[in-house]
Protein backbone atom coordinates (compact mmCIF):
# COMPACT_ATOMS: atom_id res chain seq x y z
CA UNK A 1 0.00 0.00 0.00
CA UNK A 2 2.74 2.40 0.98
CA UNK A 3 4.47 1.89 -2.35
CA UNK A 4 1.48 3.03 -4.36
CA UNK A 5 2.02 6.80 -4.42
CA UNK A 6 5.58 6.22 -5.54
CA UNK A 7 4.43 4.16 -8.49
CA UNK A 8 1.90 6.80 -9.43
CA UNK A 9 4.55 9.49 -9.28
CA UNK A 10 6.89 7.53 -11.53
CA UNK A 11 4.13 6.95 -14.05
CA UNK A 12 3.36 10.68 -14.06
CA UNK A 13 6.97 11.64 -14.70
CA UNK A 14 7.04 9.14 -17.55
CA UNK A 15 3.89 10.62 -18.97
CA UNK A 16 5.13 14.18 -18.66
CA UNK A 17 8.41 13.22 -20.31
CA UNK A 18 6.51 11.53 -23.11
CA UNK A 19 4.19 14.45 -23.64
CA UNK A 20 6.55 17.39 -23.21
CA UNK A 21 10.01 15.84 -23.72
CA UNK A 22 10.30 16.98 -27.29
CA UNK A 23 9.24 20.51 -26.40
CA UNK A 24 12.02 20.49 -23.82
CA UNK A 25 14.44 19.83 -26.70
CA UNK A 26 13.15 23.00 -28.37
CA UNK A 27 13.83 25.02 -25.23
CA UNK A 28 17.33 23.58 -24.93
CA UNK A 29 18.00 24.54 -28.55
CA UNK A 30 16.77 28.07 -27.94
CA UNK A 31 18.93 28.46 -24.86
CA UNK A 32 21.93 27.11 -26.76
CA UNK A 33 21.37 29.49 -29.67
CA UNK A 34 20.91 32.42 -27.30
CA UNK A 35 24.26 31.65 -25.69
CA UNK A 36 26.03 31.14 -29.03
CA UNK A 37 24.53 34.16 -30.79
CA UNK A 38 23.39 36.49 -28.02
CA UNK A 39 22.96 39.63 -30.12
CA UNK A 40 21.23 38.00 -33.10
CA UNK A 41 19.17 35.02 -32.07
CA UNK A 42 16.78 36.65 -29.61
CA UNK A 43 16.32 39.76 -31.72
CA UNK A 44 12.71 40.43 -32.67
CA UNK A 45 13.65 40.49 -36.31
CA UNK A 46 15.23 37.07 -36.21
CA UNK A 47 12.37 35.49 -34.26
CA UNK A 48 9.79 36.98 -36.62
CA UNK A 49 11.85 35.60 -39.45
CA UNK A 50 11.85 32.12 -37.97
CA UNK A 51 8.10 32.34 -37.54
CA UNK A 52 7.60 33.37 -41.17
CA UNK A 53 9.93 30.65 -42.39
CA UNK A 54 8.26 27.86 -40.49
CA UNK A 55 4.72 28.98 -41.41
CA UNK A 56 4.57 26.92 -44.59
CA UNK A 57 6.09 23.75 -43.18
CA UNK A 58 4.03 23.97 -40.01
CA UNK A 59 0.74 24.07 -41.92
CA UNK A 60 1.77 21.18 -44.15
CA UNK A 61 2.96 19.28 -41.07
CA UNK A 62 -0.29 19.66 -39.11
CA UNK A 63 -2.23 18.22 -42.06
CA UNK A 64 0.36 15.48 -42.52
CA UNK A 65 0.07 14.71 -38.81
CA UNK A 66 -3.66 13.99 -39.11
CA UNK A 67 -2.95 11.63 -42.00
CA UNK A 68 -0.07 9.90 -40.21
CA UNK A 69 -2.31 9.44 -37.14
CA UNK A 70 -4.41 7.08 -39.27
CA UNK A 71 -1.20 5.26 -40.31
CA UNK A 72 -1.41 6.93 -43.71
CA UNK A 73 0.84 9.25 -45.65
CA UNK A 74 0.14 12.20 -47.93
CA UNK A 75 2.92 12.69 -50.48
CA UNK A 76 0.91 15.18 -52.51
CA UNK A 77 1.00 18.17 -50.12
CA UNK A 78 3.86 19.91 -51.97
CA UNK A 79 2.07 19.56 -55.29
CA UNK A 80 -1.22 20.72 -53.81
CA UNK A 81 0.63 23.74 -52.47
CA UNK A 82 1.92 24.58 -55.95
CA UNK A 83 -1.43 24.11 -57.68
CA UNK A 84 -3.28 26.16 -55.06
CA UNK A 85 -0.61 28.88 -55.22
CA UNK A 86 -0.78 29.13 -59.00
CA UNK A 87 -4.57 29.11 -58.93
CA UNK A 88 -4.54 31.98 -56.43
CA UNK A 89 -2.00 33.98 -58.45
CA UNK A 90 -3.79 33.43 -61.75
CA UNK A 91 -7.21 34.30 -60.34
CA UNK A 92 -5.78 37.45 -58.79
CA UNK A 93 -4.12 38.45 -62.05
CA UNK A 94 -7.38 37.82 -63.88
CA UNK A 95 -8.91 40.48 -61.64
CA UNK A 96 -11.24 38.28 -59.58
CA UNK A 97 -12.46 39.89 -56.36
CA UNK A 98 -10.07 39.14 -53.48
CA UNK A 99 -12.82 37.60 -51.33
CA UNK A 100 -13.05 34.82 -53.93
CA UNK A 101 -9.30 34.62 -54.57
CA UNK A 102 -8.38 33.89 -50.97
CA UNK A 103 -10.94 31.07 -50.87
CA UNK A 104 -9.42 29.47 -53.97
CA UNK A 105 -6.29 28.28 -52.17
CA UNK A 106 -8.03 26.21 -49.48
CA UNK A 107 -10.73 25.13 -51.97
CA UNK A 108 -8.16 23.66 -54.36
CA UNK A 109 -6.57 21.87 -51.40
CA UNK A 110 -9.89 20.43 -50.24
CA UNK A 111 -10.68 19.24 -53.77
CA UNK A 112 -7.36 17.40 -54.24
CA UNK A 113 -7.56 16.06 -50.67
CA UNK A 114 -11.01 14.64 -51.44
CA UNK A 115 -9.57 13.07 -54.59
CA UNK A 116 -6.88 11.40 -52.45
CA UNK A 117 -9.43 10.24 -49.90
CA UNK A 118 -11.88 8.84 -52.44
CA UNK A 119 -9.07 7.24 -54.42
CA UNK A 120 -7.93 5.48 -51.30
CA UNK A 121 -11.34 4.36 -50.04
CA UNK A 122 -13.33 3.79 -53.24
CA UNK A 123 -10.59 2.39 -55.48
CA UNK A 124 -9.25 0.38 -52.52
CA UNK A 125 -5.67 1.08 -53.50
CA UNK A 126 -3.38 -0.98 -51.28
CA UNK A 127 -1.70 1.95 -49.52
CA UNK A 128 -2.10 5.74 -49.41
CA UNK A 129 1.51 5.96 -50.57
CA UNK A 130 0.33 4.84 -54.01
CA UNK A 131 -2.63 7.20 -54.35
CA UNK A 132 -0.75 10.25 -53.13
CA UNK A 133 2.36 9.38 -55.15
CA UNK A 134 0.00 9.47 -58.11
CA UNK A 135 -1.45 12.85 -57.18
CA UNK A 136 2.04 14.18 -56.33
CA UNK A 137 2.92 13.76 -60.00
CA UNK A 138 -0.46 14.43 -61.56
CA UNK A 139 -1.08 17.66 -59.64
CA UNK A 140 2.44 18.96 -60.28
CA UNK A 141 1.90 18.26 -63.96
CA UNK A 142 -1.45 20.02 -63.86
CA UNK A 143 0.17 23.03 -62.18
CA UNK A 144 2.70 23.31 -65.00
CA UNK A 145 -0.02 22.82 -67.59
CA UNK A 146 -2.24 25.64 -66.34
CA UNK A 147 0.69 28.02 -65.75
CA UNK A 148 2.72 26.96 -68.76
CA UNK A 149 5.55 26.51 -66.26
CA UNK A 150 5.86 30.27 -65.74
CA UNK A 151 5.75 32.07 -62.41
CA UNK A 152 3.46 35.03 -61.81
CA UNK A 153 4.36 37.91 -59.53
CA UNK A 154 2.70 41.06 -58.21
CA UNK A 155 -0.43 40.15 -56.27
CA UNK A 156 -3.04 42.53 -54.89
CA UNK A 157 -2.68 43.72 -51.31
CA UNK A 158 -5.68 41.92 -49.73
CA UNK A 159 -4.52 38.60 -51.16
CA UNK A 160 -1.06 39.15 -49.69
CA UNK A 161 -2.45 40.07 -46.28
CA UNK A 162 -2.34 36.68 -44.50
CA UNK A 163 1.15 35.89 -45.72
CA UNK A 164 2.91 39.22 -45.40
CA UNK A 165 1.08 41.61 -43.10
CA UNK A 166 2.39 42.32 -39.62
CA UNK A 167 0.87 43.86 -36.55
CA UNK A 168 3.30 46.46 -35.25
CA UNK A 169 4.09 46.10 -31.55
CA UNK A 170 6.11 49.18 -30.52
CA UNK A 171 6.89 47.74 -27.10
CA UNK A 172 9.10 45.14 -28.82
CA UNK A 173 11.44 47.82 -30.19
CA UNK A 174 11.73 49.74 -33.46
CA UNK A 175 11.20 46.64 -35.64
CA UNK A 176 8.70 45.08 -33.26
CA UNK A 177 5.88 43.35 -35.13
CA UNK A 178 4.01 40.08 -35.07
CA UNK A 179 3.32 38.51 -38.47
CA UNK A 180 -0.32 37.68 -39.20
CA UNK A 181 0.83 34.24 -40.34
CA UNK A 182 1.77 33.60 -36.70
CA UNK A 183 -1.86 34.03 -35.74
CA UNK A 184 -2.95 31.75 -38.56
CA UNK A 185 -0.63 29.08 -37.13
CA UNK A 186 -1.95 29.62 -33.64
CA UNK A 187 -5.56 29.25 -34.75
CA UNK A 188 -4.82 26.15 -36.85
CA UNK A 189 -2.79 24.38 -34.18
CA UNK A 190 -5.20 25.33 -31.41
CA UNK A 191 -8.14 24.24 -33.55
CA UNK A 192 -6.61 20.87 -34.42
CA UNK A 193 -5.58 20.27 -30.81
CA UNK A 194 -9.10 20.97 -29.59
CA UNK A 195 -10.60 18.85 -32.35
CA UNK A 196 -8.36 15.86 -31.63
CA UNK A 197 -8.81 16.08 -27.88
CA UNK A 198 -12.45 17.00 -27.46
CA UNK A 199 -14.46 16.10 -30.54
CA UNK A 200 -15.51 12.47 -30.94
CA UNK A 201 -14.49 12.45 -34.61
CA UNK A 202 -11.03 13.55 -33.50
CA UNK A 203 -10.87 10.64 -31.06
CA UNK A 204 -11.99 8.35 -33.88
CA UNK A 205 -8.92 9.44 -35.89
CA UNK A 206 -6.75 8.04 -33.08
CA UNK A 207 -8.89 4.90 -32.94
CA UNK A 208 -8.57 4.27 -36.68
CA UNK A 209 -4.81 4.63 -36.35
CA UNK A 210 -4.66 2.41 -33.28
CA UNK A 211 -6.79 -0.44 -34.58
CA UNK A 212 -8.99 0.04 -37.64
CA UNK A 213 -10.85 -3.21 -36.93
CA UNK A 214 -11.76 -2.00 -33.44
CA UNK A 215 -12.97 1.27 -34.92
CA UNK A 216 -15.07 -0.56 -37.50
CA UNK A 217 -16.83 -2.84 -35.03
CA UNK A 218 -17.46 0.18 -32.78
CA UNK A 219 -19.64 1.56 -35.55
CA UNK A 220 -17.10 4.14 -36.71
CA UNK A 221 -17.20 4.75 -40.44
CA UNK A 222 -13.49 4.21 -41.10
CA UNK A 223 -13.67 5.29 -44.75
CA UNK A 224 -15.27 8.57 -43.77
CA UNK A 225 -12.51 9.24 -41.22
CA UNK A 226 -9.86 8.53 -43.87
CA UNK A 227 -11.59 10.83 -46.34
CA UNK A 228 -11.71 13.53 -43.67
CA UNK A 229 -7.99 13.44 -42.85
CA UNK A 230 -6.95 13.68 -46.51
CA UNK A 231 -9.39 16.55 -47.04
CA UNK A 232 -7.98 18.34 -43.99
CA UNK A 233 -4.42 17.72 -45.16
CA UNK A 234 -5.38 19.21 -48.53
CA UNK A 235 -7.05 22.15 -46.83
CA UNK A 236 -3.93 22.99 -44.81
CA UNK A 237 -1.77 22.67 -47.95
CA UNK A 238 -4.08 25.10 -49.73
CA UNK A 239 -3.95 27.49 -46.79
CA UNK A 240 -0.15 27.36 -46.69
CA UNK A 241 -0.18 28.10 -50.44
CA UNK A 242 -2.08 31.29 -49.71
CA UNK A 243 0.45 32.29 -47.03
CA UNK A 244 3.42 31.51 -49.29
CA UNK A 245 1.86 33.44 -52.18
CA UNK A 246 1.42 36.39 -49.84
CA UNK A 247 4.94 36.20 -48.44
CA UNK A 248 6.64 35.92 -51.84
CA UNK A 249 4.10 38.14 -53.64
CA UNK A 250 3.93 35.56 -56.41
CA UNK A 251 2.89 32.16 -57.60
CA UNK A 252 5.48 29.77 -58.98
CA UNK A 253 4.88 26.29 -60.31
CA UNK A 254 7.98 24.85 -58.66
CA UNK A 255 6.82 25.81 -55.18
CA UNK A 256 6.83 23.08 -52.56
CA UNK A 257 8.98 20.54 -54.39
CA UNK A 258 10.09 18.15 -51.66
CA UNK A 259 7.94 19.96 -49.08
CA UNK A 260 6.10 16.72 -48.25
CA UNK A 261 9.36 15.26 -46.93
CA UNK A 262 9.95 18.24 -44.64
CA UNK A 263 6.41 17.91 -43.32
CA UNK A 264 6.85 14.18 -42.69
CA UNK A 265 10.19 14.88 -40.99
CA UNK A 266 8.63 17.44 -38.65
CA UNK A 267 5.82 15.05 -37.68
CA UNK A 268 8.25 12.19 -37.03
CA UNK A 269 10.73 14.35 -35.10
CA UNK A 270 7.76 15.53 -33.07
CA UNK A 271 7.26 11.99 -31.81
CA UNK A 272 4.24 10.83 -33.83
CA UNK A 273 4.29 7.14 -34.70
CA UNK A 274 4.62 6.29 -38.35
CA UNK A 275 2.31 3.34 -37.66
CA UNK A 276 -0.52 5.58 -36.54
CA UNK A 277 -2.46 6.33 -33.40
CA UNK A 278 0.28 8.15 -31.52
CA UNK A 279 1.41 11.75 -31.40
CA UNK A 280 0.42 15.19 -30.16
CA UNK A 281 -0.12 18.59 -31.71
CA UNK A 282 2.50 20.07 -29.37
CA UNK A 283 4.92 17.42 -30.61
CA UNK A 284 4.32 18.36 -34.22
CA UNK A 285 4.83 22.01 -33.39
CA UNK A 286 8.06 21.10 -31.63
CA UNK A 287 9.17 19.12 -34.66
CA UNK A 288 8.53 22.09 -36.91
CA UNK A 289 10.37 24.39 -34.49
CA UNK A 290 13.35 22.06 -34.18
CA UNK A 291 13.78 22.03 -37.95
CA UNK A 292 13.23 25.79 -38.18
CA UNK A 293 15.62 26.61 -35.32
CA UNK A 294 18.25 24.28 -36.65
CA UNK A 295 18.21 25.99 -40.03
CA UNK A 296 18.10 29.42 -38.47
CA UNK A 297 20.83 28.68 -35.93
CA UNK A 298 23.18 27.17 -38.49
CA UNK A 299 22.56 30.13 -40.77
CA UNK A 300 23.41 32.52 -37.96
CA UNK A 301 26.59 30.58 -37.30
CA UNK A 302 27.47 30.58 -40.97
CA UNK A 303 27.36 26.82 -41.31
CA UNK A 304 26.86 25.49 -44.82
CA UNK A 305 23.36 24.50 -46.02
CA UNK A 306 24.70 21.04 -46.72
CA UNK A 307 25.33 20.55 -43.02
CA UNK A 308 21.73 21.56 -42.27
CA UNK A 309 20.43 18.81 -44.52
CA UNK A 310 22.87 16.32 -43.02
CA UNK A 311 21.89 17.19 -39.45
CA UNK A 312 18.16 17.06 -40.11
CA UNK A 313 18.66 13.57 -41.46
CA UNK A 314 20.53 12.53 -38.33
CA UNK A 315 17.85 14.07 -36.09
CA UNK A 316 15.08 12.14 -37.82
CA UNK A 317 16.89 8.88 -37.18
CA UNK A 318 17.69 9.82 -33.58
CA UNK A 319 14.14 10.93 -32.84
CA UNK A 320 12.68 7.64 -34.02
CA UNK A 321 15.40 5.65 -32.28
CA UNK A 322 14.55 7.31 -28.96
CA UNK A 323 10.95 6.28 -29.56
CA UNK A 324 12.02 2.70 -30.26
CA UNK A 325 14.04 2.62 -27.03
CA UNK A 326 11.14 4.01 -25.05
CA UNK A 327 8.75 1.45 -26.45
CA UNK A 328 11.18 -1.39 -25.86
CA UNK A 329 11.53 -0.28 -22.24
CA UNK A 330 7.74 -0.22 -21.88
CA UNK A 331 7.46 -3.73 -23.31
CA UNK A 332 10.16 -5.02 -20.99
CA UNK A 333 8.38 -3.66 -17.91
CA UNK A 334 5.23 -5.31 -19.10
CA UNK A 335 7.02 -8.58 -19.67
CA UNK A 336 8.15 -8.53 -16.07
CA UNK A 337 4.70 -7.64 -14.78
CA UNK A 338 2.56 -10.09 -16.73
CA UNK A 339 3.08 -13.42 -18.35
CA UNK A 340 1.91 -12.72 -21.86
CA UNK A 341 2.10 -14.59 -25.14
CA UNK A 342 5.39 -13.73 -26.80
CA UNK A 343 3.75 -13.02 -30.12
CA UNK A 344 1.97 -9.99 -28.75
CA UNK A 345 5.19 -8.65 -27.32
CA UNK A 346 6.94 -9.01 -30.63
CA UNK A 347 4.16 -7.25 -32.42
CA UNK A 348 4.26 -4.39 -29.96
CA UNK A 349 8.02 -4.15 -30.08
CA UNK A 350 7.66 -3.55 -33.78
CA UNK A 351 5.24 -0.79 -32.92
CA UNK A 352 2.37 -2.33 -34.83
CA UNK A 353 -0.06 -2.43 -31.93
CA UNK A 354 -2.91 -4.90 -32.18
CA UNK A 355 -3.97 -4.66 -35.75
CA UNK A 356 -4.71 -8.26 -36.62
CA UNK A 357 -8.04 -8.95 -38.25
CA UNK A 358 -10.64 -11.57 -37.46
CA UNK A 359 -10.97 -14.47 -39.82
Amino acid sequence: MAAEPKVAARVNIGRIAERYGIFFVVIVMMVFLTIMQPEYFLSVQNLTNVLKQIAMNSLLAIGMFLVILTAGIDLSVGSILALAMMAVAMADKAGWPWEIVILIGPAVGIAVGALNGYGLTLLRLPHPFIMTLGTLNAIRGLTNLISDGRPISGLSAPVRFLGSAQIPVPSLGPFGAIPISGFVLLVCYGGVALFLRKVSVGRHIYAVGGNPQAARVSGINVDRILLLVYVLSGFFSGLSALLLAGRTDSGFPNAGIGAELDAIAAVIIGGASFFGGRGTVLGVFSGVLIMGLLRNGLNLMNVSVFWQQFLIGIIIILAVYVDVLRRRAAVRTEELTHARPGQNLLRRARGLGSRSTTT
Binding site: V201, Y206, A207, G210, Q213, G277, E334, H338, A339
Partner: protein, 266 residues
Protein backbone atom coordinates in the same frame (compact mmCIF):
# COMPACT_ATOMS: atom_id res chain seq x y z
CA UNK B 1 -32.19 -33.60 -35.14
CA UNK B 2 -35.19 -31.82 -33.69
CA UNK B 3 -33.54 -30.44 -30.61
CA UNK B 4 -33.83 -26.86 -31.68
CA UNK B 5 -37.01 -25.64 -30.02
CA UNK B 6 -37.78 -26.17 -26.37
CA UNK B 7 -39.80 -23.18 -25.21
CA UNK B 8 -42.98 -22.75 -23.24
CA UNK B 9 -45.03 -20.34 -25.34
CA UNK B 10 -42.93 -17.18 -24.98
CA UNK B 11 -40.63 -16.70 -27.95
CA UNK B 12 -36.89 -17.04 -27.34
CA UNK B 13 -34.89 -13.86 -26.80
CA UNK B 14 -32.95 -14.42 -30.00
CA UNK B 15 -33.67 -16.92 -32.69
CA UNK B 16 -32.25 -17.68 -36.12
CA UNK B 17 -34.07 -19.79 -38.69
CA UNK B 18 -32.60 -21.44 -41.76
CA UNK B 19 -29.49 -19.31 -41.83
CA UNK B 20 -27.22 -19.96 -44.81
CA UNK B 21 -24.11 -18.08 -45.75
CA UNK B 22 -22.14 -18.50 -48.94
CA UNK B 23 -18.74 -17.00 -49.68
CA UNK B 24 -18.52 -17.47 -53.42
CA UNK B 25 -18.70 -21.21 -54.01
CA UNK B 26 -18.05 -22.03 -50.36
CA UNK B 27 -20.97 -22.79 -48.09
CA UNK B 28 -20.01 -21.55 -44.63
CA UNK B 29 -23.44 -22.15 -43.11
CA UNK B 30 -26.20 -24.41 -44.36
CA UNK B 31 -29.74 -23.79 -43.00
CA UNK B 32 -28.63 -23.38 -39.42
CA UNK B 33 -31.23 -23.00 -36.68
CA UNK B 34 -30.39 -21.32 -33.41
CA UNK B 35 -32.13 -20.01 -30.33
CA UNK B 36 -31.16 -18.32 -27.10
CA UNK B 37 -33.29 -17.88 -23.98
CA UNK B 38 -33.30 -15.00 -21.53
CA UNK B 39 -30.48 -15.19 -19.00
CA UNK B 40 -29.06 -18.29 -20.63
CA UNK B 41 -25.40 -19.06 -21.23
CA UNK B 42 -25.13 -21.06 -24.43
CA UNK B 43 -21.92 -22.80 -25.44
CA UNK B 44 -21.28 -23.13 -29.15
CA UNK B 45 -18.71 -25.76 -30.07
CA UNK B 46 -17.36 -27.14 -33.30
CA UNK B 47 -14.13 -27.81 -35.08
CA UNK B 48 -12.25 -25.10 -36.96
CA UNK B 49 -14.32 -24.13 -39.98
CA UNK B 50 -17.54 -25.49 -38.52
CA UNK B 51 -19.13 -22.07 -38.97
CA UNK B 52 -19.25 -20.84 -35.35
CA UNK B 53 -17.64 -17.49 -35.99
CA UNK B 54 -19.59 -16.92 -39.19
CA UNK B 55 -22.87 -17.56 -37.37
CA UNK B 56 -21.90 -15.14 -34.60
CA UNK B 57 -20.86 -12.47 -37.06
CA UNK B 58 -24.30 -12.78 -38.66
CA UNK B 59 -26.04 -12.51 -35.28
CA UNK B 60 -23.96 -9.42 -34.44
CA UNK B 61 -24.55 -7.69 -37.78
CA UNK B 62 -21.02 -7.84 -39.18
CA UNK B 63 -22.09 -10.28 -41.92
CA UNK B 64 -25.47 -10.49 -43.62
CA UNK B 65 -26.94 -13.98 -44.14
CA UNK B 66 -27.38 -15.27 -47.69
CA UNK B 67 -30.68 -16.84 -46.61
CA UNK B 68 -32.75 -17.22 -43.48
CA UNK B 69 -34.07 -14.84 -40.86
CA UNK B 70 -33.15 -13.55 -37.42
CA UNK B 71 -35.92 -13.08 -34.88
CA UNK B 72 -35.44 -10.95 -31.78
CA UNK B 73 -38.12 -11.34 -29.08
CA UNK B 74 -40.54 -12.74 -31.63
CA UNK B 75 -40.02 -9.96 -34.21
CA UNK B 76 -38.00 -10.52 -37.37
CA UNK B 77 -35.02 -8.16 -37.54
CA UNK B 78 -32.43 -7.32 -40.16
CA UNK B 79 -28.94 -6.15 -39.18
CA UNK B 80 -27.17 -4.18 -41.89
CA UNK B 81 -24.25 -3.36 -39.59
CA UNK B 82 -23.04 -3.97 -36.03
CA UNK B 83 -24.75 -0.68 -35.20
CA UNK B 84 -28.19 -2.19 -35.90
CA UNK B 85 -27.40 -5.13 -33.65
CA UNK B 86 -26.18 -2.79 -30.89
CA UNK B 87 -29.51 -1.01 -31.11
CA UNK B 88 -31.45 -4.08 -29.95
CA UNK B 89 -28.74 -4.93 -27.41
CA UNK B 90 -26.63 -7.58 -29.14
CA UNK B 91 -22.92 -7.07 -28.55
CA UNK B 92 -19.99 -9.15 -29.64
CA UNK B 93 -16.62 -9.50 -27.96
CA UNK B 94 -14.26 -10.39 -30.78
CA UNK B 95 -11.58 -13.03 -30.59
CA UNK B 96 -8.88 -10.40 -31.11
CA UNK B 97 -10.86 -8.18 -28.69
CA UNK B 98 -11.02 -5.28 -31.18
CA UNK B 99 -9.65 -2.71 -28.77
CA UNK B 100 -7.55 0.32 -29.67
CA UNK B 101 -4.36 -0.29 -27.67
CA UNK B 102 -3.24 3.31 -28.04
CA UNK B 103 -6.31 4.58 -26.17
CA UNK B 104 -7.35 4.52 -22.54
CA UNK B 105 -9.70 2.02 -20.95
CA UNK B 106 -12.56 4.47 -20.62
CA UNK B 107 -12.24 5.66 -24.20
CA UNK B 108 -12.30 2.09 -25.46
CA UNK B 109 -15.43 1.33 -23.48
CA UNK B 110 -17.33 4.20 -25.08
CA UNK B 111 -15.60 4.24 -28.47
CA UNK B 112 -18.09 5.24 -31.13
CA UNK B 113 -20.71 6.11 -28.49
CA UNK B 114 -18.93 8.82 -26.52
CA UNK B 115 -21.04 10.74 -24.03
CA UNK B 116 -20.93 14.43 -24.83
CA UNK B 117 -22.69 17.53 -26.01
CA UNK B 118 -23.54 18.36 -29.61
CA UNK B 119 -22.33 21.74 -30.78
CA UNK B 120 -22.05 22.93 -34.39
CA UNK B 121 -22.89 19.42 -35.56
CA UNK B 122 -19.95 17.94 -33.67
CA UNK B 123 -20.03 15.78 -30.57
CA UNK B 124 -17.82 17.33 -27.90
CA UNK B 125 -16.81 14.45 -25.66
CA UNK B 126 -17.31 14.88 -21.94
CA UNK B 127 -14.17 13.02 -20.84
CA UNK B 128 -14.86 13.57 -17.16
CA UNK B 129 -18.29 12.00 -17.39
CA UNK B 130 -17.02 9.21 -19.61
CA UNK B 131 -14.27 8.46 -17.10
CA UNK B 132 -16.73 8.37 -14.22
CA UNK B 133 -19.26 6.24 -16.11
CA UNK B 134 -16.49 3.79 -16.99
CA UNK B 135 -15.29 3.55 -13.39
CA UNK B 136 -18.83 2.92 -12.14
CA UNK B 137 -19.52 0.36 -14.82
CA UNK B 138 -16.30 -1.54 -14.07
CA UNK B 139 -17.21 -1.41 -10.40
CA UNK B 140 -20.60 -3.00 -11.11
CA UNK B 141 -18.89 -5.83 -12.97
CA UNK B 142 -16.30 -6.23 -10.18
CA UNK B 143 -13.49 -5.51 -12.63
CA UNK B 144 -10.50 -3.95 -10.94
CA UNK B 145 -8.02 -1.79 -12.82
CA UNK B 146 -5.42 0.63 -11.52
CA UNK B 147 -6.99 3.52 -13.38
CA UNK B 148 -9.45 3.94 -16.24
CA UNK B 149 -6.84 6.23 -17.81
CA UNK B 150 -4.44 3.35 -18.44
CA UNK B 151 -3.86 2.57 -22.08
CA UNK B 152 -5.28 -0.78 -23.11
CA UNK B 153 -1.91 -1.89 -24.53
CA UNK B 154 -0.49 -1.72 -20.99
CA UNK B 155 -3.00 -4.29 -19.69
CA UNK B 156 -2.65 -8.04 -19.35
CA UNK B 157 -4.63 -10.38 -21.58
CA UNK B 158 -7.26 -10.99 -18.92
CA UNK B 159 -7.67 -7.30 -18.20
CA UNK B 160 -8.12 -6.63 -21.89
CA UNK B 161 -10.76 -9.31 -22.02
CA UNK B 162 -12.47 -7.63 -19.06
CA UNK B 163 -12.37 -4.25 -20.82
CA UNK B 164 -13.82 -5.84 -23.95
CA UNK B 165 -16.64 -7.31 -21.87
CA UNK B 166 -17.21 -3.99 -20.10
CA UNK B 167 -17.43 -2.37 -23.53
CA UNK B 168 -19.96 -4.91 -24.71
CA UNK B 169 -22.17 -4.39 -21.67
CA UNK B 170 -21.83 -0.63 -21.35
CA UNK B 171 -25.21 0.05 -22.98
CA UNK B 172 -27.92 -2.29 -21.69
CA UNK B 173 -26.74 -5.35 -23.57
CA UNK B 174 -29.30 -8.16 -23.76
CA UNK B 175 -27.01 -10.62 -25.53
CA UNK B 176 -23.23 -10.78 -25.32
CA UNK B 177 -21.45 -13.01 -27.83
CA UNK B 178 -17.96 -14.08 -26.85
CA UNK B 179 -15.62 -15.63 -29.35
CA UNK B 180 -12.89 -17.76 -27.70
CA UNK B 181 -12.49 -15.44 -24.70
CA UNK B 182 -9.99 -17.66 -22.91
CA UNK B 183 -7.90 -18.87 -25.84
CA UNK B 184 -5.03 -16.43 -25.34
CA UNK B 185 -5.12 -16.11 -21.57
CA UNK B 186 -2.76 -17.14 -18.83
CA UNK B 187 -4.26 -19.96 -16.75
CA UNK B 188 -4.83 -17.80 -13.68
CA UNK B 189 -6.83 -15.28 -15.70
CA UNK B 190 -9.19 -17.81 -17.27
CA UNK B 191 -11.14 -18.24 -14.04
CA UNK B 192 -11.67 -14.50 -13.66
CA UNK B 193 -13.06 -14.20 -17.17
CA UNK B 194 -15.40 -17.14 -16.66
CA UNK B 195 -16.63 -15.69 -13.39
CA UNK B 196 -17.31 -12.47 -15.25
CA UNK B 197 -19.54 -14.43 -17.64
CA UNK B 198 -21.42 -15.84 -14.68
CA UNK B 199 -21.92 -12.38 -13.25
CA UNK B 200 -23.34 -11.22 -16.60
CA UNK B 201 -25.88 -14.02 -16.35
CA UNK B 202 -26.78 -12.83 -12.85
CA UNK B 203 -27.38 -9.38 -14.34
CA UNK B 204 -29.91 -11.00 -16.70
CA UNK B 205 -27.71 -10.85 -19.77
CA UNK B 206 -27.74 -13.81 -22.13
CA UNK B 207 -24.32 -15.00 -23.20
CA UNK B 208 -23.18 -17.00 -26.21
CA UNK B 209 -19.79 -18.53 -25.60
CA UNK B 210 -17.74 -19.94 -28.44
CA UNK B 211 -14.98 -22.05 -27.05
CA UNK B 212 -12.64 -24.88 -27.84
CA UNK B 213 -12.09 -25.47 -24.16
CA UNK B 214 -14.68 -27.84 -22.82
CA UNK B 215 -13.59 -26.95 -19.28
CA UNK B 216 -14.94 -23.47 -19.91
CA UNK B 217 -18.15 -24.73 -21.48
CA UNK B 218 -18.88 -27.12 -18.65
CA UNK B 219 -18.05 -24.46 -16.05
CA UNK B 220 -20.36 -21.66 -17.20
CA UNK B 221 -22.87 -22.88 -19.79
CA UNK B 222 -26.48 -23.99 -19.37
CA UNK B 223 -26.73 -25.58 -22.80
CA UNK B 224 -24.31 -26.59 -25.51
CA UNK B 225 -24.83 -26.63 -29.25
CA UNK B 226 -22.50 -28.21 -31.80
CA UNK B 227 -22.00 -27.18 -35.41
CA UNK B 228 -20.33 -29.50 -37.87
CA UNK B 229 -19.28 -28.43 -41.38
CA UNK B 230 -21.61 -25.45 -41.36
CA UNK B 231 -24.74 -27.26 -40.16
CA UNK B 232 -26.52 -28.02 -36.89
CA UNK B 233 -25.17 -31.24 -35.51
CA UNK B 234 -26.42 -31.71 -31.97
CA UNK B 235 -27.38 -29.84 -28.84
CA UNK B 236 -28.26 -30.64 -25.28
CA UNK B 237 -28.69 -29.15 -21.87
CA UNK B 238 -25.41 -29.38 -20.00
CA UNK B 239 -26.83 -31.71 -17.39
CA UNK B 240 -27.95 -34.16 -20.07
CA UNK B 241 -24.60 -34.62 -21.71
CA UNK B 242 -21.02 -35.50 -20.96
CA UNK B 243 -17.68 -34.18 -21.96
CA UNK B 244 -16.94 -37.20 -24.09
CA UNK B 245 -20.20 -36.90 -25.95
CA UNK B 246 -19.49 -33.25 -26.76
CA UNK B 247 -15.99 -34.13 -27.97
CA UNK B 248 -17.65 -36.64 -30.27
CA UNK B 249 -19.96 -33.93 -31.62
CA UNK B 250 -17.06 -31.64 -32.36
CA UNK B 251 -15.50 -34.44 -34.40
CA UNK B 252 -18.76 -35.17 -36.14
CA UNK B 253 -19.70 -38.38 -34.36
CA UNK B 254 -22.65 -39.46 -32.28
CA UNK B 255 -22.99 -42.51 -30.15
CA UNK B 256 -19.61 -44.22 -29.94
CA UNK B 257 -18.24 -41.55 -27.70
CA UNK B 258 -15.88 -43.54 -25.55
CA UNK B 259 -13.89 -44.60 -28.57
CA UNK B 260 -13.40 -40.96 -29.50
CA UNK B 261 -12.52 -39.71 -26.07
CA UNK B 262 -8.84 -39.91 -26.81
CA UNK B 263 -6.84 -37.95 -29.29
CA UNK B 264 -8.01 -39.83 -32.30
CA UNK B 265 -7.97 -37.98 -35.57
CA UNK B 266 -10.44 -39.02 -38.19
Amino acid sequence: MNETTATDGTPPLLEARGISKYFGAITALDRVAFHLERGEVLGVVGDNGAGKSTLMKILSGLFQPSAGEIVFQGTPVRFASPRDAHRVGIEMVYQDLALAGNMSIFENIYLGREPGRRMLGLNFVDHARSRQMAAEHLERLHIHVKSVDQNVEDLSGGQRQAVAIARATAFDARVVIKDEPTAALAIKEVGKVLDLIKSLKEHGVSVILISHRLDDVFYVCDRVMALFRGANFAEASLKDTTRNEVIGWIMGAKGHTTALAHDRVQ
